[in-house]
């Protein structure tokens, strides 16, 4: 985006008014162009977006057993008709070899190439969206914001020079894109490959009989298991006997590991975001209220949070997942919602502890008294005059706690708790591959394990980066980095 304030505006400097000369888009109405670009980008994915939104609505209705399910299902069917350019239907990778060429794949390419193209397109699209957002921010900064400079600009500049933070941002970006576009990224789908594998058929080239045959996916999976060495495995970047490409190899059940991981990333992210979002909400409100009213209110909160902290988190998780097993809460999103609730209930205390100090500090500032003196409502004072000063801390701790939540979810699935099978979860993949780590099927545990480590490191790195960026005393270039550790290290789960 750096080159966006392009040559034409420089060249036309003499004629144009100062406002247009300063735009970052070489046009008279940069906002319109920006909105147009956004609409264009959205058009690629409008079908997927509509399907997703309607699906959430119908899930909620079904879970709460409200009327109107039939109606929403109608909309869902309609939403599926909307075009989605980045879908697996547009760039298919599933096909078969008919003796001369590949049938059913994108442009008749080999499945791995077709899949690679789709993944590349998805990531390019995501980058384009990110670029569009950056462009929008720059546009706002140049055109709409009254001030030439605000302290936030420095924060962004410091972050841009923070290598470790940028690494974290990149990892988190890759992870989020994987989660958002999970159905389009996998070489196959959860429904076809796992949930209903015996209801779906597969066409393949049988080398022994030299003919095109069909087989149930479930049966094909049985013949593609990774349970040892040599013939007993389908490793990363290999084809199985049925012409199916497996970027990360197969699970011991013969299912596709990449699909499993892509969809698993979605559930990790959803639980992570939901639990961190809830705990951030609770922690922020309590921190602000406690800092505003002080005294007994604050003391009460200390007692409550100490009480919650004293509960053993793991035991509570095991107990609640068992007790609530057959309730409707546990049914929401394969139990992910319940997990998020429990994480939020136990997690807000740590977040609140970290926010309490900064909130108390802000509450002593004189502009709070000034606002009180002219009769501003307490809630408005908390929101307008205190909240902006702890959002930085929220980002830091939120980012770090998210990493912690992802590890915790994976850990629970590894133990066989939490998200119920067959919904994919990274920790379960690690668990499934345990027995085979010392064989040729090492990939089953290793790949998800490495990914968990990478993603959690990424979230922590992002948190570190944000913290250093927010602290004006820290020098992102690193000349006196130890001076700026004021905002407090750690804070993860």
């Amino acid at each position: 985006m750096a080159g966006a304030h392009g040559p034409s505006s420089d060249a036309a400097d003499d004629e144009v008014t100062p406002e247009t000369a300063s735009t970052i888009l070489p046009t008279e109405s940069p906002t319109l162009v920006w909105v147009g670009l956004g609409a264009g980008l959205l058009a690629f994915e409008v079908g997927a977006l509509a399907t997703f939104l309607v699906a959430i609505l119908s899930d909620t209705l079904a879970a709460a057993s409200l009327p109107g399910v039939g109606f929403v299902e109608g909309i869902e069917a309609a939403a599926r008709q909307l075009p989605t350019l980045l879908s697996r239907e547009t760039v298919p990778n599933e096909g078969y070899w008919n003796g001369q060429r590949w049938v059913g794949t994108f442009l008749g390419l080999r499945p791995e190439v077709a899949w690679g193209i789709r993944v590349a397109l998805v990531y390019l699209y995501a980058l384009a969206v990110a670029g569009w957002a950056v462009l929008g921010y720059r546009l706002y900064r140049r055109e709409y914001r009254a001030a030439d400079w605000t302290p936030r600009d420095d924060v962004i500049d410091r972050f841009r020079n923070h290598g470790w933070g940028l690494f974290g941002l990149a990892v988190v970006f890759m992870f989020v894109v994987m989660a958002v576009f999970a159905p389009a990224l996998g070489p196959t789908t959860v429904d076809k490959n796992m949930r209903n594998s015996y209801d779906n058929e597969l066409t393949y080239w049988d080398a022994e009989t030299d003919s095109v045959e069909t087989i149930l996916v479930g049966e094909a999976n049985l013949a593609s298991q990774s349970r040892g060495d040599g013939e007993e495995r389908v490793g990363p970047m290999e084809y199985d006997d049925f012409g199916r490409f497996h970027p990360f190899g197969t699970l011991p059940t013969g299912r596709d590991l990449f699909t499993f991981i892509a969809v698993g990333s979605r559930i990790s992210l959803v639980i992570g975001l939901l639990s961190v979002g809830l705990s951030v909400g609770v922690a922020t409100s309590l921190a602000l209220i406690g800092a505003y009213y002080k005294g007994r209110v604050d003391l009460g909160m200390v007692l409550v949070s100490d009480g919650v902290m004293a509960m053993p988190q793991l035991l509570l998780l095991i107990m609640l997942t068992t007790v609530l097993k057959d309730t409707w809460v546990a049914g929401l999103y394969s139990g992910a919602f319940l997990l998020a609730l429990i994480f939020a209930f136990t997690g807000w205390t740590y977040m609140w502890r970290s926010l309490r100090g900064p909130a108390l500090q802000v509450s002593e500032r004189q502009w709070i008294d000034a606002a009180k003196s002219f009769g501003q409502r307490p809630r408005t004072i908390m929101r307008q005059h205190m909240l902006p000063y702890i959002t930085g801390y929220l980002l830091i701790y939120g980012s770090m706690t998210l990493g912690g939540a992802i590890i915790a979810i994976a850990g629970l699935s590894f133990l066989g708790l939490g998200v119920s099978p067959p919904t994919p979860e990274w920790g379960r993949a690690v668990n499934l591959g345990q027995e085979y780590v010392d064989t040729g099927s090492w990939h089953i545990s290793l790949i998800p394990g490495l990914l968990i480590t990478l993603v959690v490191t990424g979230f922590n790195a992002l948190g570190d980066g944000i913290r250093d960026a927010i602290d004006p005393r820290s020098d992102a270039a690193g000349s006196d980095a130890d001076d700026g550790a004021a905002a407090g290290r750690g804070g993860g789960a």
Binding site: A147, T150, K294, Q366, A370, K372, F374, G375, Q384
Partner: protein, 328 residues
């Protein structure tokens, strides 16, 4: 002047509860302000000036509490939780302008916040009024400044903006808590002039809280000298400077540079303000008082009326205690 004072503080007691002791930060402060009058409250650091100011606005935070006395605004006692009804009638200007403006909002935003609450102005009308207010407090180029952030203003300009913010509430009483202390001397004079001007134009009453006797002499009509949570002397400004009645006032006046012979060492008051932890049983200034005598250590002095309206809480003026009678 009308009969009823605009604000009357009577026997105000503010106590801070700490784990070990109860600190009587304000211990029986009594004074009043009439409409359009400028009243000074002068004393050293720790004497309870600021706590008094905060009490008037209902801003005393935990662990402090108003435990006695009344604050009558037009005859209505604010300490019975009536602050909400008079928000905006009393406005405050704090010491450090850069700290009383929220750095994340523009000047205009913050003035408009007050305008929205007190004058129900929004949008364009609020911005226009904010610009007017900024012009009233002498900020040049107000239409541009209204969109600037606090860090873009100098200290003096920021204090003007803070005053504009206070005026946005359309107050009858402006409490200025050391409004010039954080500013350099030339700017101080400008702000004092501005306040005098505003007072004349808008018939504002001003409570001026400071430790600076020079500022008191310039700006106020009437002075209350506060020491260790008590008002020890109250008098019209001129009379106080001409004939200080309380030894503490005398000591304060002597320690102003320029009032003594330039060749002499500037006198200081030895020791520091005590922290009152219980009801007064003696004169709290006695340990530092050059004129203290026997009774000063065993009797808490009451206010004694002197000529005019003035009074002083000193045994030197109590005919029953002191043989000195009225010394001036």
């Amino acid at each position: 002047m009308s009969d009823e004072p605009l604000l009357s503080v009577r026997d105000l007691e503010v106590v801070f509860h700490t784990e070990r002791e109860r600190i009587h930060a304000v211990d029986g402060v009594t004074f009043e302000i009439r409409e359009g009058q400028t009243v000074g409250l002068v004393g050293e650091s720790g004497s309870g000036k600021s706590v008094t100011a905060r009490s008037i606005l209902g801003l005393v935070d935990e662990p402090g509490r108003i435990e006695g006395g009344e604050i009558l605004y037009r005859g209505e006692d604010l300490t019975e939780d009536n602050w909400a009804d008079h928000r905006g009638d009393i406005a405050i200007v704090f010491q450090d302008p850069t700290n009383s403006l929220n750095p994340v909002y523009t000047i205009g935003n913050q003035i408009e916040e007050a305008l929205r609450i007190h004058q129900d102005l929004r949008g364009r009308a609020a911005t226009d009024r904010a610009i007017e207010l900024l012009e009233d407090v002498g900020i040049p180029d107000a239409p541009r400044r209204v969109d600037e952030y606090p860090h873009q203003l100098s200290g003096g300009m920021a204090q003007r903006a803070v005053i504009a913010m206070a005026l946005a509430c359309d107050p009858d009483l402006l409490v200025c808590d050391e409004p010039t202390t954080a500013l350099d001397v030339t700017i101080q004079a400008q702000i004092l002039d501005l306040l005098a001007e505003l007072q004349a134009e808008q018939d504002l009453a001003i409570l001026f809280i400071t430790h600076d006797m020079g500022v008191i002499e310039d700006a106020t009509d009437w002075v209350n000298v506060i020491y260790a949570g008590e008002v020890v002397e109250r008098a019209p400004t001129e009379a106080l400077f001409d004939h200080p009645a309380h030894p503490y006032t005398r000591a304060l006046l002597e320690s102003i540079p320029g009032r003594t012979d330039p060749d002499e060492r500037l006198p200081t008051i030895e020791g520091e303000v005590p922290t009152p932890t219980g009801p007064a049983t003696d004169c709290r200034f006695a340990p530092r008082c050059p004129e203290a005598f026997e009774d000063c250590r065993s009797v808490a002095p009451e206010h004694v009326s002197l000529d005019g309206d003035r009074s002083a809480a000193c045994l030197l003026h109590d005919p029953a205690r002191s043989d000195g009678g009225e010394r001036q």
